[in-house]
Symmetry: C2
């Protein structure tokens, strides 16, 4: 307790520091401890840091030093720290530890974290490790491994607190007091009927304030949501956000309680889902949490490959106007301007729309309003920047006709960019495709084609 008592005396100094992760000094301290091979010192020092911060410290070490640290700590490397490590370091750590140690780690973790680590193991090694875990824990881990990644089944933990609805508050509390290893954290007591079907939840904040003799079923049972094990984690995240939940019960087809997902796990999922959308929009596949250069290459090559061909399609469009380009070289100089501004207007509309779809903000009358808004925005920005482009071109090339041509081309490109930027993702969503992934190709390629062919086409008609 001393450690805590010290903090208790004046916790705020350390608590109130702007905690943007761990600082360099801390990392250096641990590097020194590891390189000095000071096992006991390392173990003692680690106790002062939250597992998440320790994971950050390890991630900021040179990889070599980290590997040394793992060998040094061996069975004293805490499971909750391993679970917080980035995927690549996690795998390195697990590979460096003996089957026995890994088995102990899996045994001590919540089933959701244990499943995460177990899924990092090669199949045959997983076998060997599982043989050394007790039947209950092993069953829990194997059950959640049976569900696909990124589903509620993978996220849920198998330990939760459930009570028959006919129990009194007193019975429930006495039961909890007498129960070993309750899940940590838990925020609700789930009520079940004799068939173990979920019938409601009582928040601890309600339970703790109720008289002991009250029936649990009389405590305004709040069941705003429950999820199936096969529900996609993005759907689960939406439910948490929509209903401000602290935890959600996971029910099987018959409505029986099979697990619990707590909000602290959802916070990570929300980050991940947002990250995937953002990266997909920039043409990076599957979240870009890299183990290696090879992963980085694989996550980016597909979109570059597609773009290799769309880019030549655009060139094809330009080549139609070779004669005009030879005549008026100014067109070759100016055409990237039209494409660049149009491309930006397109990306803006696209990002806003993809985001709105992800937040379920594109349903009913709202979709119509969005399309109308994008059109009017494109009209307005189109007018402003077409005139701007025209004026700069006029000052530069002193050619009113050329200036008129680029203005008109710019304006039509703006309209196309705005409208396609909102309609394409909405359309792909309706077709069941992920708008974040597929939209950019269509929008940006079509914007380029409209930009170049409207500019060069108009020039051919007017200036030749």
């Amino acid at each position: 307790m001393t450690q805590e008592i010290n903090e208790v005396i004046s916790p705020h100094e350390e608590l109130l520091s702007e905690t943007s992760g761990v600082d360099e000094e801390t990392v250096d301290l641990f590097i020194d401890l590891v390189e000095a091979g000071a096992r006991d010192g390392l173990i003692v020092a680690m106790e002062d840091y939250h597992p998440a911060d320790m994971a950050d410290v390890f991630e900021q070490m040179p990889r070599q030093t980290f590997n040394t640290a793992v060998k040094l700590l061996d069975d004293m490397l805490p499971g909750d720290t391993i679970a917080e490590l980035s995927e690549d370091l996690r795998i390195d750590a697990l590979n460096a530890l003996s089957d026995k140690v890994v088995a102990d780690v899996l045994g001590e973790l919540d089933s959701d974290d244990a499943a995460l680590l177990a899924s990092d193991l090669e199949d045959d090694r997983q076998e060997r490790v599982f043989e050394q875990i007790n039947a209950t824990d092993r069953a829990a881990i194997e059950t959640s491994l049976n569900f696909d990644e990124e589903t509620a089944g993978r996220l849920m933990q198998r330990d939760f607190v459930a009570a028959p609805e006919f129990w009194t508050v007193g019975q429930a509390i006495d039961h909890m007091r007498s129960t070993e290893d309750l899940p940590e954290p838990f925020f609700e007591v789930y009520l079940v009927d004799p068939g173990f079907r979920f019938v409601g939840a009582v928040p601890l904040s309600v339970l703790i304030c109720a008289p002991r003799e009250t029936l649990l079923s009389d405590l305004g049972v709040d069941i705003s949501a429950a999820v199936k094990p096969d529900m996609d984690q993005e759907e689960v995240a939406y439910i948490f956000q929509q209903y401000n939940l602290a935890s959600v019960p996971v029910l099987d087809e018959a409505g029986r309680l099979t697990g619990m997902i707590t909000v602290d796990d959802m916070v990570d999922v929300i980050h991940q889902e947002n990250k995937e959308d953002m990266l997909a929009l920039s043409g990076v596949r599957d979240g870009g949490s890299y183990q290696s250069v090879w992963d980085a290459v694989q996550s980016r090559a597909p979109w570059l490959g597609v773009n290799l061909f769309t880019a030549f399609i655009v060139s094809g469009a330009i080549s139609i106007f070779e004669d005009t380009l030879t005549e008026i070289i100014a067109l070759a100089v100016l055409m990237p301007v039209v494409a660049a501004l149009g491309g930006n207007a397109g990306s803006q509309a696209l990002a806003v729309t993809v985001r709105a779809i992800a937040e379920r903000d594109m349903q009913g009358a709202r979709a119509g309003r969005a399309v109308r808004r994008e059109f009017l925005t494109a009209m307005f920005n189109g007018v402003v920047f077409s005139v701007g482009v025209g004026l700069i071109a006029l000052v530069w090339f002193k050619d009113p006709q050329l200036s008129g041509v680029i203005s008109v081309a710019m304006f039509s490109t703006f309209i196309w960019a705005g409208v396609s930027g909102v309609l394409v993702p909405i359309g792909l969503e309706k077709l069941g495709a992920d708008p974040a992934v597929a939209s950019s190709v269509f929008v940006l390629t079509s914007v380029d084609i409209v930009a170049f062919s409207s500019f060069l086409g108009l020039a051919t008609a007017v200036l030749m």
Copy 2:
């Protein structure tokens, strides 16, 4: 209770539907009720829906219908539903309601939600409304309004559960049982010293399982974090995610307990912060939660304005090679390919880096690893796609020299895109600028210049 009892019998049918917001039938039902002017029917129907879902229903109505609904419901429009509405509808609703009704709404809400609504009111109206709220609630609202938007002070609620550390579990529980309107939800009891300074927190899940005579100070007080009222909400969100918190205490400079932030509020903040990063990267300012076309225009015009000039700078670079372009028109046809692929490689590196910075994944040795990874990825993709571009150009123009020139230009552009895509955001971050906002301009413009001038420059040297 009947409502709940019904649900209790078989909740899972309705609970387990894939709840992607509310369905069209529901929206139509409510539209009909509103247009029929069926006030009582509307009020009864609303009771079956979660405030967040009701807000969705209203947002999916035609604006006209929504305004009718507000007038129809008047004082029966629940405050928690108003708080869930999008900003534009929220303001419409508040303007349509009388000062008295708004005052009652603010009075019934948690101080953080009340402050949100109050901040939507014109100053003079805010005055009038506040005069009709009781002193305590009013003080709470005004206090949080005194903090800047997007800070912990704005997010926190003023009601929390605190107990002297020397109390026993029993005293704490009896105290809570006897206290009216406790915050909902709350997950921890905060421990304070006689100076009301925060000394620790006891999770309810621990408290409820402890024997009544245990001292609160003996229940492993967990104080992994606390925040200052002026801390930026992005920082607060990071702390919640890093330490898997359910709630965090807000302390003043002296360490005195002044408020509490719960994770359900953070979930929305995390969404908002992610959204702002994603939109900023696409050149959309301040989150793009629009009230009007005018807002949309304002959020996008700045970046388009910057791009207007960067685009002409790029044109300037091209114009240097006018003579070469006149000679070999194929260059004008092919140059967009180099720029397009380079631009994509740049956006990919940029998105990955900006994301990693937001997740505090760019500190210590990790930054170095990231730069190395981007360089090698650019090398690899550079080789593959330079050869690809070269081959297609060869097939098309049957000119080995031209094909060689575009390959080399493509490769150098890839290297530049990858390296600038990771170094620029890291650099801007070190300079204290928001990498999500400012990076794209630098990276994409420089990539275009490198693409065009390397391609046209090489062509001038080799082909002329």
